[in-house]
Amino acid sequence: MFDKAKARVDARREARQVPPPLDPEQAAKEAHERDKGLTKHHFEPHEHPCVRIEHLMKTFDGETQVLTDVNLTVWPGEVVCVLGPSGSGKSTMLRCINLLETPTAGHILIEDKEITGHLPTKEVNKLRQNLGMVFQSFNLFPNLTAKGNVMIGQTKVLKKSKEEAEAEALKQLDAVGLGDRADFKPAQLSGGQQQRVAIARAVAMHPDILLFDEPTSALDPELVRGVLDVMRDLAENGGMTMIVVTHEMGFAREVADRVVFMEGGVVVEQGTPEQVFDNPQHNRTAEFLGSIG
């Protein structure tokens, strides 16, 4: 018990030691320098990154340190694939970005606005509207039809009219190839179909950034492709900013602008898919990629 308390105190002490977030201009300048060769995405010299993660740290119960020191910038329109062995903190980092987990220390800035620290509930809800999330286990609302799932955020949160929301829902369901399943309940859909509905649900809110938390891990192999096709379409034709935590190497290689390899709560290596897959700089990256195959 005392150990736990002590760990918690230590965590807080460490939290205090994290330097304050950088000034936007300076941060942008540093990010430009750092990311120039690491991504296939083209960003303008005057552009600021839309997500900035600085010294992000997360401990559970003051004991289990999942994220030690994560630093990452994501540019508008960039597709970032996060790879790494399980337990490396990929999902936790993603969940920190839309505050499903509260960071223990460090800073996350969305469009140069800090979201870490004490953010009022209203602000949090507003932030989350702007960050679409797709979960590993779909998390569709089983009491609603596919269409209802896509509509509910629009009608309740964005306060759109029913007709408007319905039209948007059908459009998005069509886009993921499920226009004919609009009236099906989630339980009547296959896993792949459910995940595509979940993507439609997230996209229908017109977020600036889409977060994918291992979207294909819970799927049977033959259902994976449909979901990945939808994601590829979003990346290539939608121009959406996407952070994808995944084990799909093929997808990462083909679609990602940048691949980030995480392990032990830190970003071990990042770069363009070619750099990371073909010429990994770190042993651990090479080992991991080798074992995956």
Binding site: N130, F141, N143, G148, V157, D183, Q188, E222, G226
Partner: protein, 467 residues
């Protein structure tokens, strides 16, 4: 104000005058005063006098000082009958029987008795008329009549005190008919059948217990919506992040679930009047039942809400929905479906528990059955009460198991499917009827509630992904 007083005063005066006048008119010295007019109960298992069915009428009159009575005539209302009556005439001198005999002559609703010699002063005249039939329509029956004194003058008798009778309903006629059936007599001669399943009593108690059954149903149906509302409030309080709210909810739920309903009933029914709070018994019954059920429902709802996977909250949060919005639109509709079977079971319990209210004088089913049993000395009314309880509980038990099956099936994904719009889609069974409400996507409570009841053919097995 003054005028009203005057008005009241004048009304009072008039009333007094009328009463005085009436007593003066009725007062003229009677030679024979009516002492008593009663009828023997002829209700099976009851204490009522039923019209239309033979019974015994007992009439007594006393001869006043200085008078002698030669004959008496009794008269029932027009629809009463003395036709088959046999009359026993007794003339008493103090406590001794006198040898005076009576000769009766009958004409429909009039029965005359001629005494063999005049009854002297102080004599009491008693007529026991067997097989008297009171008017079948029931109501208060007054026995009128005349008498003749020894000197030949005839005067009206003072009307008797009214005998209240029950109308002879078709139920009564059924019972009378049953009484005469040999198979009923054979049935009743079996000790068990006669004690627990006496046909006549089943028929009568079905009717006399019915209002009690309505009271039971009424109490629980009125109480339950309140119980659901209260239960939901306490469930949400127990799940609240505020320690004080949680503590209040925990105390409320645990105290009410940890003490017998019987005790709670006693405390409320005897405690409140002592604090000079007097509430109608039925209303108080509703309150007690609602409070008691709310504690159980709170636990059911809490468990239901907690059984919703955390991913649902996260998904709602990721859409930017607030806590309340998530609760109302996402969590509660799902909870409703999950708790319907448990809530129905609790409803069954609450319905049965209304029987405890009989102990404090609420006129419900059990109370009626108890009264009828103590009057008839037969267990049949209890068995009938059991039938009444089962009329409600058995269908509900069936409903619970049906819903449970439906929910289990729909969670496997094998529920009815709406028709897909694409014509080339062979995944959808063409025979499957389109769900009436399947097309509306709202998370309405009504559709959540009705979902388990919707009929449809089941499609077993999974659904393959369509690419």
């Amino acid at each position: 104000m003054k005028r009203i007083c005057k008005r009241i005063l004048s009304v009072l005066l008039v009333a007094c005058a009328l009463v005085l006048a009436g007593s003066l008119v009725a007062a003229p010295a009677q030679a024979l005063t009516t002492e008593k007019a009663t009828a023997r109960p002829n209700e099976d298992g009851g204490s009522g006098v039923i019209g239309g069915i033979p019974t015994r009428l007992t009439w007594e009159g006393v001869v006043e000082p200085g008078e002698q009575i030669a004959s008496v005539t009794l008269m029932l209302p027009d629809t009463g009958k003395f036709d088959d009556s046999t009359t026993k005439v007794t003339v008493l001198d103090g406590l001794n029987r006198t040898p005076i005999e009576g000769k009766t002559n009958i004409a429909a609703n009039v029965l005359g008795v001629e005494l063999s010699e005049p009854a002297k002063e102080g004599y009491k005249l008693r007529l026991e008329i067997e097989d008297t039939v009171f008017p079948p329509e029931g109501g208060d029956v007054v026995v009128n009549g005349t008498y003749t004194t020894a000197d030949g003058s005839t005067k009206d008798l003072a009307p008797s005190k009214p005998i209240s009778t029950i109308s002879n309903t078709w139920v009564q006629q059924v019972v009378t008919w049953l009484d005469q059936q040999p198979w009923v007599q054979a049935w009743n001669s079996n000790q068990f059948l006669g004690m627990f399943l006496k046909p006549q009593l089943i028929v009568t108690s079905l009717f006399s217990l019915f209002p009690g059954w309505l009271v039971c149903l009424g109490i629980v149906i009125v109480a339950y919506p309140f119980a659901i509302l209260l239960g939901l409030v306490f469930a949400l309080m127990k799940l609240s992040k505020f320690r004080v709210l949680r503590a209040i909810a925990v105390v409320y739920i645990n105290v009410l679930r940890g003490t017998p309903l019987f005790l709670q009933i006693y405390i409320m029914f005897f405690g409140l009047p002592m604090m000079h709070i007097n509430i109608d018994n039925n209303v108080l019954g509703v309150i007690v039942m609602a409070i008691n059920s709310s504690a159980y429902l709170a636990e059911i709802f809490r468990a239901g809400i907690e059984s919703i996977p955390v991913g649902q909250y996260e998904a709602a949060a990721s859409l930017g929905m607030g806590r309340l919005m998530t609760m109302v639109h996402i969590i509660l509709p799902q909870t409703v479906r999950r708790v319907i079977p448990t809530v129905t079971s609790d409803f069954i319990m609450a319905f049965k528990d209304t029987s405890l209210l009989s102990s404090v004088g609420v006129m419900e089913l059990m109370m009626f059955a108890k009264n009828l049993t103590s009057v008839s000395g037969n267990m049949t009314p209890y068995v009938t009460a059991a039938i009444f309880y089962l009329i409600v509980t058995l269908p509900l038990i069936k409903v619970v198991s049906t819903i449970e099956k439906r929910i289990a099936r729909s969670e496997r994904g094998a529920g009815p499917r709406p028709k897909a719009k694409a014509a080339n889609d062979e995944q959808v069974d063409e025979e499957t009827p389109a769900q009436e409400n399947g097309a509306t996507p709202e998370a309405s409570l009504a559709s959540a509630l009705s979902a388990p009841f919707k009929a449809g053919t089941s499609v077993f097995g999974g659904v393959a992904d369509v690419r």
